[in-house]
Amino acid sequence: MSRAEILESTDAAVAGIEDGSTILVGGFGLAGMPFDLIDALIRQGANDLTIVSNNAGNGDVGLAALLAAGRVRKVLCSFPRQADSWVFDGLYREGKIELEVVPQGNLAERMRAAGAGIGAFYCPTAVGTPLAEGKEEREIDGRRYLLEYPIKGDYALIGAHVADAMGNLVYRKTARNFGPVMATAATTTIVQVDEVVEPGKLDPEAVVTPSIYVDRIVQVEARRYTVQGAR
């Protein structure tokens, strides 16, 4: 990936996302959720998407709104069912959306593997459970493991706190969650940030996502998190 572009609008940031793309969407609940990029993606119109994210939408905003607009064919996530996941629940019960439930750690580690060039890895999670079905099992040093494959994205949409103009990123508190991993696992990583600063303003010891993983940056207005219907 060459140097990150800094774009003027979220619409420019999501331009060109093709129908049928696999999109990694950051966030854990509201924290780190790239709401502005998702709104832009809804306007942009890409269809038949596969979404990889920890949850499957809260309330009627963000991912839930993308689902409600009928743009999503399949969701890979660890925890779709929540108190306020009514949009997903409805689509799922009507058979209008595919679901692959992935243990949260596998979701993270499989994306890390995609970013790190690992072809597959043996993991102890889910051995002996229904989620082991169809997976290759192997015993190593007396412990049972399942073979897990990478999850690669065409795009990642993530939220971060501050970017420098090179594309280095820092996050805030537990809003860091999936962002740094997804940035490594996607062909094109698109980031919404609260602020863009000059190179040299971020402490090089504290950069969490190095610039090499970032393709497009857009600064957005600070979000009020008191979103109706989402927690």
């Binding site: 924290a31 780190g32 439930v101 459970t129 740094p180």
Partner: protein, 220 residues
Amino acid sequence: MTITPNDQVRADHLLSMDELAAVIARDIPSGAFVNLGIGQPTKIADHLPAGSGVVLHTENGMLNMGPKAEGDAVDPDLTNAGKVPVTELPGAAYFHHADSFAMMRGGHLDVCVLGAYQVAFDGDLANWTTGKPEDIPAVGGAMDLAIGAKDVYVMMTLFTRSGEPKLVPRCTYPLTGVGCVSRVYTDHGVFDVGPDGVRIRETYGVSAHELAERLGIQLS
């Protein structure tokens, strides 16, 4: 399957979940690194003695998590795994999800405490889905926690509302993990489980013999 009775009844009544949380808090070693699962186990934090040095991990990416945030301290970027706003203690550290789950799956946590639908005498755990066709499956980090911590404790009522035991010879609900639970804390008593079978550690408001009978186990 053997059961070692212990007739030392430690309370004259069944414990409330809050009382049970206090019992578990007492058993967590000083200085331990601990993950408290979503729901009832979260209560345990309120009972940890000051100066216990217990460090709480939350799988969404933090060590040394503090109590629930109230009022102006609420920060939407700082929540626990149940998405409840929390606080940060001095000496906290943040990390991303792959690092957080590597910490769990690598066996670095001393204790995690989870809720459960069922636990088997040999330590099998079922706590993620009822398996009913109308239930949308959702696993979160439950399977990672089940295989990750050095000791996995379960906190639950011993019987369902309709009176069925939840500590069972073999789980009928879909499994979360195989042979992973080492101890089960319930309103009726505390049990060690594992490859050697179940052992009653202490009971509340009921004798070990009575409990063994209700669980349908012959004492050896």
